[in-house]
Amino acid sequence: MNPADLDAIFITLKLALISTVILMLIAMPLAWWLSQMQSRFRPFLEATVALPLVLPPTVLGFYLLVALGPQGVVGSTLEKLGIQHLAFSFTGLVIGSMVYSLPFAVQPLQNAFSQVPRDLLDAAATMRAKPLDRFFSLVLPLTKHGFITACVLSFAHTIGEFGVVLMIGGNIPGETQVISTAIYDHVESLNYSGANKLSLGLLVFSLMVLAMVYSLNRGAGNMFASAGRGQIKSTSSAEENVE
């Protein structure tokens, strides 16, 4: 493996780590807000969050490039403030990855949040637990699986991204070149064995990550089955001998 490949691996991991951490901080309140929302605008907001799932990464990358570049809203504002615009930079890559992986972080969290029985939160409220206290003492431990799924999926998805990275990052070796774009370079220069090494690595990595998510979700299913036991009981209470 040549030094450029090692650089690409390092940058990929750094990018995935940083964008996952920041993304989780944003996704957490957003997912909670969506899960508690009763408004009729909710489907529209959910669709907006899910957009990166269906949009070609190039479209996303294109608009981000325009926005973050020297002529764009964000880029020009930064330039005025004396800061470098974000096109073809690592920071730009982080922003792009976050937008691209947003549904992968929000959806598992939102799912997990909406499964927390309302009764539990109400009960905690009558025991003097303030909203933030309830979130940390109940919601978080009960939705641990959602958090792990969201983290793992965002991380893995960022590692595997190509289109957005290519559009915003520009594939500059040692700066914005990640594994997927490095593979593309190898293929372009007909270095199939180099491409294979990186590709195989990604393949094994992705498989492991997905296996982990699925095994975690199985455990989580059991957890909620026990939480919902009372609910199942109440529907069939007439026939059931409880004690």
């Binding site: 029985p117 009764d119 539990l120 109400d122 009960a123 905690a124 409220a125 009558t126 025991m127 003097r128 637990a129 303030k130 206290d133 003492s137 109940l138 431990p141 009960l142 957890m223 026990s226 939480a227 036991r229 009372g230 609910q231 009981k233 109440s234 209470s237 059931e240 001998n241 409880v242 004690e243």
Partner: protein, 378 residues
Amino acid sequence: MTIAPLQSMSLQIDLRRKGFTLSVNTELPLQGITSLFGPSGCGKTTLLRTIAGLNDTLTASHGNQITVVDKNGSEYCWQNEQGESIPSWQRQVGLVFQKPALFPHLNVQNNLDYAWSRVPKQQRIKQLEPTKLMTRMGISVFRDRLPSELSGGQQQRVALARTLASCPQLMLLDEPLANLDGGAKNYFILLLKQLQQETKIPMIYMSHQLDEVVQLSDRLILMDSGQLVTQGAIADVLQSNEGYTRCQGENILFAQVLENNREAGLFAVQVANTTLWFPAPAQEFAVGAICRIHFRAKDISLATELNAQSSISNSIAAVIESFSDSGHKAEVRVRLRIENANGGQAVSATITKASQQRLELAVGATVYMQVKAVALSI
């Protein structure tokens, strides 16, 4: 912030939604256990959630008012007419739900600690400390178990313990026995009553089960279609016209325990100057204590003279106060008074109009009432 239990609550609530109205304007004294009795869907749960501050629609709307007064006489406004309200977590109201709602990731001990650890130090009631409470309620053996490893009855007991561990000023119970079977239910009723007497925390108990209400309550509120029908001390409410109709002629007599002989299986109580004998009940009754005898108006037969030739051995002398409509055209409700030094206790009997004529019953006459089936409770 106070430590004293509440002594009264003033409610002024007007909530109208499609197909549902809750309109309550009343002053509730909170002593002992107050039952809120009414058919399913009459607005009991909505009222309870409103008191607990969990009704989001209502807390945000104008024109509703909830004010409470504690035993020290301090007044607190939970909700005012301008739509401002105190959130649930500041109300110090404990709520026991129909479903146990235990925290599934915490074991029994930690469920109780969750409540206890959030009570400010100066508001803690020593006897409600989790370890003591678990021993008192017979749940210390499961302290390390998760809720999913407990039966429904055990879960509900833990839920009650957890609510008590939050040292509330008022407890609200929303049909907590709905998912329990006979044995667990009787145990729970007894426990609830004893705990109320030990802690002096007032309770509002919601139910549509008449037997629970009659056994538990000190005060009774009848509710229908989102409105309060009547309220008062249980014996008075049962003897009112609404109470007689809605509670199927249930009667409560207070009696003093004279003897509780487990070996012979005999149990004696005194009502006015009559001694009544019953088969000894399963539960403990201390001699000298006041117990309650429940029976339905239809289970009473009336005789004009003391009849020794009957298999019903208990006869109580009573004076006929009046006759009124029973709701059935062939029957009549006889209002009776059992005289004693303290002014007596009222009872209703339902008999056929034919019997009334045959026995020539008249207001002011003394009759002997014989009761076939009774239930006893503390």
